[in-house]
C-alpha cells in the first residue's frame, strides 16, 4: 500500500508546554503564599485581594485548570497526532483553543481576588467565564474527534479512550453544575439550593478530580510511560476492564464528600460503596503502569523521567486507595473538615499530577528541540527535592488533621469537651503548618530548577516546528471485528457508549433527590433571608468565608455539644448556593446566629485577635469601608424568586426599605454598645446574615 507523507504540528505543543510551566510556577507560588498566611495572617498586607479566602480558590484553580489543564493539552496535542498518524484536525482551532484557555485563566486570575465568585468549590468562576470554558471545551472536543476521524490507524489506543471519556464527562459536569441565573454581568445564583446544590456540586467536584486530574493523566501515562521506558504495555485486557469500570463507577462516588451531612442516607451509602468498588479499577491503571516497567527497572535507577513517572504512579495508587478508605463512615467522621483531606489531595496533586507532568516535560522538551536534556544532575536534584517536599507536606498534614480531629472529639471524664475552645485546637497545629510550608518551598524550588534546566535544554537545541511522518491510509474495507475491537475502532459509537456509562450514576443519584419530597423534609419555621441578610450572604461569599468555615453541624455528640443542634436538610432550602464548606480552619458557623451579640462580630471582624487572642483569622478592615451594593437588592430578590424562593410578588419594591430598617436596628444596637457605624457598610449586612444563621429552627425546636 502507498505510504502517505504528512507533518505533525509541534508549535501548539510548544505553546502549551510553556503555559504549563509558567502557570505551574504561579499556581504553586500562590499555594506557598497561602500556606504561609495560615500561620502569618499579616502576610495579606491588609489587602482584600491577597486574603487567604480569596487566594485559596485562585491557588486551586491555577493548579487544576491552569497547570494541569495546560499539561493535559500539551500531552494531548503531542500524542493524538502520533497515535492517529495524522496532523491535528485544525491549526486554527489549536490556536483558538490555546489563547481561549489562557484568556479564561487570566479572567480567573482577575476575578477571584476581587471576590467575584459563585462560591462553589472548583467552580468559582462566574457565568460569563463559564460560557467561555464551555466554548473552548467544545473546541477541544472538535480537535479530538476531528483528528480521530481523519486517523490512519484504525484501532484506537487506550490513551485515546481516556481522552474521549474526559471530553464528554467534563462537558456534562461543567454544564450541569454551572447552571446559574445571572443577576448582573458578574453575579449569578446557582439554580440548585441546599442539599440538591451540595449533591450536584460534589458530583461535579469529585468527578472533576476523576475526569480532569485522573482520566486525561492516565491517557498521558499510557502514551508517555511506554515511550520513555521503551517497553510494551503490560496488559491490553486489563486496559479494557479498568477503563470501562473506572468511568462507570467513578461518577457515583461524589456523595462521599457529604457523609454525615444532611444529604439523604441512601445517597451517602451509594457514595461509600461505589468508592470502595473503585479501588480495583483505579489500581488497574497503577498496575498496568508499574508492570509495564517489568524488565526496565534498571533504567528507572538512572533515568529521571522514569523516576518521576514511577513516583507519580505510586502516588496515584496511594491516593486512590486512601480515597475509598476516607469514604468509610468511621474514617470520614475523623478526617472530614481537617488537614487530612489537604494531605490526601496533595498526594494526588503534587505526586500524581505534578510528578507525571515533570516526567513528561523532561522527556518531551528534548524531543521538541531535537536535543538531549541539559542536565541529568539537576533533574535528579529536582526529583529528590520534590519527593522530599511531598513527604514533608503529606506527613505534616496527616499529623495535623488527626491531631485536630481527636482534639475536637475528646471528652473529659466529666462528659464535657476537653478542648471546648476551637482556637486551642488550631494553635496546636502551627508547628505542622510551618513544616508544610517547608515542604511546599522544597517542591517549588525543585520546579524552579526544572524551569532553568528546560530553558537551557531548549537553548542548546533547535525547535522542530513540524515533524514529517509517513503511514499507510486507513484500511476502509469492511472487516468483521468482534467485541471490544469493534467498538475501539468506531469513535462515535465509543463516545456514545462512554457517555451512557458516565450518565447512569449521576442520574440515579440526582433524580430522586430532586423529585422525591421525603428526601428533604421541609421545616415550616425556615423562612427566606431578609434583603439585608441576603446581601450579607453575598458579602460572605465574596470574601470566601466558606474557604475556612463550614456551615454543617454533623450528628456527633462532639459537634452538637460544641455548636448546637445538627444540621437538617430542610434548613437549607433557600441557600443558593449551599455554603457547607469542606474545611474547618475556623469553627463551624451554622449555629453561630444569636450566639454572640452584634458588637462581638463587629470587633471580631475588625480584629479577630481582640475577641479570640491568638486567632489566625486575618482582620477584615475593608468591610467597614465598603459600601453595600444596595442597588442590586431588587434584582437579587427577583432572581431568587425565579429560583423558587417564596418572596411575595412585588416584594422588590419594599425590599430596600426593609433592608434599611434592619440595618438601622443593627446600627442602633451597636451604638448602645459604644460603636458608631454607617448603616450602608458591608459589615452591617454581614452581621445580619451571621445572626440569622441556623436560628430558624430554634423558633420551632421539634423540627419535622
Amino acid at each position: 500500500m502507498q505510504l502517505e507523507t504528512f507533518r505533525y504540528d509541534n508549535t501548539i505543543v510548544k505553546k502549551f508546554t510553556l503555559a504549563t510551566v509558567v502557570w505551574g510556577v504561579v499556581g504553586m507560588l500562590v499555594g506557598l503564599i497561602i500556606a504561609l498566611q495560615i500561620f502569618i495572617p499579616e502576610l495579606n498586607f491588609g489587602i482584600s485581594f491577597l486574603t487567604f479566602g480569596r487566594l485559596r480558590p485562585l491557588h486551586t484553580n491555577a493548579v487544576i485548570f491552569a497547570f494541569v489543564g495546560n499539561g493535559i493539552f500539551m500531552g494531548f496535542y503531542y500524542m493524538i497526532q502520533r497515535l492517529c498518524k495524522t496532523r491535528i484536525f485544525s491549526d486554527l482551532l489549536s490556536n483558538i483553543h490555546f489563547w481561549g484557555w489562557q484568556l479564561i485563566i487570566l479572567c480567573a486570575a482577575l476575578t477571584l481576588p476581587l471576590g467575584i465568585t459563585t462560591g462553589k468549590e472548583y467552580a468559582e468562576l462566574e457565568w460569563p467565564i463559564d460560557i467561555m470554558i464551555t466554548l473552548i471545551w467544545v473546541v477541544f472536543g472538535i480537535q479530538l474527534i476531528g483528528t480521530i476521524l481523519k486517523r490512519r490507524e484504525k484501532h484506537m489506543y487506550v490513551a485515546i479512550w481516556f481522552f474521549i471519556a474526559t471530553i464528554v464527562t467534563i462537558a456534562v459536569l461543567h454544564i450541569v453544575n454551572s447552571l446559574e441565573l445571572p443577576v448582573s454581568f458578574l453575579k449569578s445564583y446557582p439554580v440548585y439550593a441546599g442539599v440538591q446544590d451540595a449533591l450536584v456540586q460534589w458530583w461535579y467536584g469529585h468527578n472533576a478530580v476523576a475526569f480532569f486530574l485522573t482520566t486525561p493523566y492516565l491517557g498521558l501515562m499510557y502514551y508517555f510511560l511506554p515511550k520513555a521506558a521503551n517497553r510494551p504495555v503490560y496488559s491490553y485486557r486489563l486496559s479494557i476492564i479498568h477503563f470501562w469500570s473506572l468511568i462507570f463507577l467513578y461518577i457515583w462516588a461524589g456523595p462521599h464528600h457529604l457523609l454525615y451531612s444532611a444529604l439523604p442516607d441512601w445517597a451517602q451509602s451509594l457514595g461509600t460503596v461505589f468508592s470502595i468498588m473503585l479501588i480495583a479499577p483505579s489500581w488497574g491503571g497503577m498496575i498496568n503502569g508499574l508492570l509495564t516497567l517489568r524488565g526496565a527497572w534498571d533504567k528507572v535507577r538512572d533515568d529521571a523521567v522514569l523516576k518521576f513517572m514511577v513516583v507519580a504512579i505510586t502516588a496515584y495508587g496511594m491516593a486512590t486507595f486512601e480515597g475509598p478508605m476516607l469514604s468509610l463512615k468511621n474514617v470520614n467522621a475523623l478526617a472530614h473538615f481537617t488537614d487530612w483531606i489537604i494531605a490526601h489531595v496533595h498526594v494526588g496533586a503534587l505526586g500524581w499530577n505534578g510528578f507525571l507532568t515533570f516526567g513528561i516535560l523532561y522527556w518531551l522538551v528534548p524531543k521538541l528541540w531535537g536535543t538531549q536534556l541539559y542536565s541529568k544532575k539537576l533533574a535528579n536534584f529536582h526529583f529528590w527535592t520534590g519527593f522530599l517536599g511531598i513527604v514533608f507536606y503529606a506527613s505534616s498534614m496527616y499529623w495535623s488533621g488527626i491531631t485536630q480531629s481527636l482534639m475536637w472529639k475528646q471528652f473529659t471524664v466529666d462528659g464535657t469537651l476537653q478542648y471546648p475552645n476551637f482556637l486551642e485546637t488550631v494553635l496546636q497545629l502551627i508547628p505542622m503548618y510551618i513544616i508544610r510550608a517547608v515542604g511546599g518551598t522544597l517542591f517549588l524550588t525543585g520546579v524552579i530548577v526544572m524551569v532553568y534546566n528546560l530553558i537551557k535544554t531548549a537553548g542548546q537545541g533547535t525547535f522542530i516546528k513540524e515533524e514529517e511522518a509517513q503511514a499507510a491510509p486507513m484500511d476502509k474495507t469492511p472487516t468483521r471485528l468482534k467485541g471490544h475491537i469493534w467498538i475501539e475502532s468506531r469513535p462515535i459509537r465509543f463516545l456514545i457508549l462512554a457517555t451512557v456509562a458516565i450518565l447512569i450514576g449521576g442520574l440515579v443519584e440526582m433524580i430522586p433527590t430532586f423529585l422525591i419530597k421525603t428526601n428533604i423534609p421541609t421545616i415550616a419555621a425556615v423562612k427566606p433571608y431578609t434583603p439585608l441578610e441576603l446581601q450579607g450572604r453575598d458579602v460572605y461569599i465574596s470574601n470566601a468565608c466558606n474557604s475556612c468555615h463550614s456551615q454543617l453541624v454533623r450528628p456527633f455528640r462532639s459537634e452538637t455539644e460544641r455548636y448546637g443542634e445538627y444540621s437538617k436538610a430542610g434548613e437549607f432550602v433557600y441557600d443558593h448556593p449551599f455554603l457547607w464548606g469542606s474545611k474547618r480552619t475556623g469553627p463551624d458557623l451554622h449555629r453561630v446566629g444569636k450566639k454572640y451579640p452584634n458588637v462581638w462580630h463587629y470587633h471580631h471582624m475588625s480584629d479577630p485577635r481582640l475577641m479570640s487572642p491568638g486567632s489566625i483569622m486575618p482582620p477584615y478592615p475593608w468591610l467597614f469601608d465598603n459600601q453595600l451594593d444596595i442597588a442590586s437588592t431588587q434584582a437579587k430578590i427577583g432572581a431568587m424568586r425565579s429560583l423558587g424562593v417564596p418572596y411575595p410578588e412585588g416584594y422588590e419594591s419594599k425590599a430596600d426599605a426593609d433592608l434599611l430598617k434592619q440595618a438601622d436596628e443593627i446600627v442602633l444596637d451597636l451604638q448602645k454598645a459604644g460603636v458608631v457605624v454607617d448603616r450602608d457598610k458591608e459589615i452591617v449586612a454581614l452581621i445580619a446574615y451571621l445572626q440569622r444563621l441556623g436560628t430558624d429552627i430554634k423558633a420551632q425546636p421539634a423540627a419535622k
Binding site: 508492570l291 524488565g295 454572640y596
Partner: protein
C-alpha cells in the same frame, strides 16, 4: 508543641504499642475509641506502604548482573503467583499485533489478586447496602447519634450519682492562687469577649461591682454559668466547661469584686448583700433567699 506531644502523642504511642503487642485488637471493634480506629487504619496503611516500598526496592534489584539474591527470587515467585504474568523471555506469546506510534501491547491475564480484590469490594458493597438499608442492622447517622447521646447521658447520670461531682448545692468559692489563676485563664478564653478582659463589662454585665442580675455568690454564679440565661444572651457552658472549671472561673469572678477596672459598665441587677462576714454556708442561704425575693 510540648502539649501536642504530651497529650495526644503519648496516647497515640501507647496505643501503637498495644496494637503492636496484641495484633488482634481488630476483633474488639465494639469498645474501640475513635483513637483506636484511626490507629488500626494508620497501622494498616503504614504496613501497606512499607510493603509497597519493599516490593519496589526489591524490584529495583532485578537487574543486578549475575547473582539473583534469595529475596529477589522469593519476590519473583510471589509476583508470578500473584500476577500470573507471562515471563519476560516468553513475552512474544502474548504480544498483540498492535503498534501505536511504536507502542506495543501485551495481553497478560488479569492479575488474580486484582480480580479477587474487585470481587471482594463488590461483595462488601452488597453487604453494606443490605445492612444499612434493607435489614437495617446497622444504624444510620441519626440512630448512631441517638445511641451516642444515650450513652453519654447514662455516663453523666452515673457520675452525678457518685457524688464525686461538684454541683450547685455543694460548690464552694476557692481562694488559693493556683485555682484563681486557672479561673483567670478560663475567664480570658471564654468570658472576656462579653464581660471584658478585666470583668468591666462589655455586652455582658460588669463583674466587679456588687450588683448581680442572677444573684451573686459562688452558688448562683455556678448555676448561671452552668445553665446560662438564654433569654438574656448568656450561654450555657456545661458542655464546654466541666464543673471544676466552672467552680474555678466562678471563684475568679468573685475575686474581681472591687478591682475598679477602667471603663466599667454601669451596674445592672440587684445589689447583692454580701453576708460573707459570716460563714460561707450562711451567705449561700442568704443569697438563695435574696433571689426569691427578687423574683417576687
Amino acid at each position: 508543641m510540648n502539649k501536642l506531644f504530651s497529650s495526644v502523642n503519648k496516647r497515640l504511642l501507647s496505643l501503637l504499642l498495644v496494637i503492636a503487642s496484641t495484633g488482634t485488637t481488630f476483633a474488639q471493634a465494639q469498645d474501640e475509641s475513635d483513637l483506636g480506629k484511626v490507629f488500626h487504619i494508620g497501622v494498616f496503611i503504614f504496613f501497606f506502604l512499607v510493603f509497597v516500598v519493599l516490593l519496589t526496592l526489591i524490584s529495583y534489584h532485578n537487574s543486578d548482573d549475575g547473582k539473583v539474591p534469595t529475596l529477589v527470587k522469593a519476590w519473583r515467585w510471589i509476583n508470578e503467583k500473584m500476577t500470573k504474568a507471562t515471563p519476560i523471555d516468553q513475552e512474544a506469546q502474548v504480544m498483540l499485533d498492535h503498534d501505536y506510534d511504536g507502542i506495543k501491547e501485551l495481553d497478560n491475564v488479569l492479575p488474580p489478586w486484582w480480580k479477587y480484590l474487585f470481587y471482594v469490594t463488590i461483595v462488601f458493597s452488597v453487604i453494606y447496602i443490605l445492612n444499612y438499608h434493607i435489614t437495617n442492622v446497622w444504624a444510620l447517622s441519626e440512630g448512631e447519634y441517638k445511641e451516642e447521646i444515650k450513652l453519654a447521658e447514662i455516663q453523666r447520670a452515673e457520675l452525678m450519682g457518685s457524688g464525686a461531682f461538684i454541683t450547685e448545692k455543694n460548690v464552694t468559692a476557692l481562694t488559693d492562687p493556683a485555682s484563681l489563676a486557672l479561673g483567670s485563664e478560663i475567664f480570658k478564653k471564654n468570658c472576656a469577649a462579653c464581660h471584658g478582659f478585666k470583668g468591666e463589662g462589655l455586652v455582658g454585665p460588669n463583674m466587679t461591682d456588687e450588683f448581680w442580675i442572677n444573684g451573686g455568690g459562688i452558688k448562683n454564679i455556678f448555676r448561671t454559668v452552668t445553665n446560662g440565661v438564654p433569654e438574656k444572651g448568656m450561654l450555657s457552658w456545661k458542655a464546654q466547661l466541666n464543673p471544676k472549671a466552672i467552680q474555678e472561673v466562678g471563684s475568679y469572678i468573685l475575686s474581681l469584686y472591687g478591682t475598679n477596672p477602667p471603663n466599667p459598665k454601669a451596674p445592672q441587677g440587684t445589689k447583692w448583700v454580701d453576708v460573707a462576714s459570716a460563714d460561707s454556708t450562711k451567705a449561700v442561704v442568704d443569697s438563695t433567699k435574696k433571689i426569691e425575693t427578687v423574683k417576687k
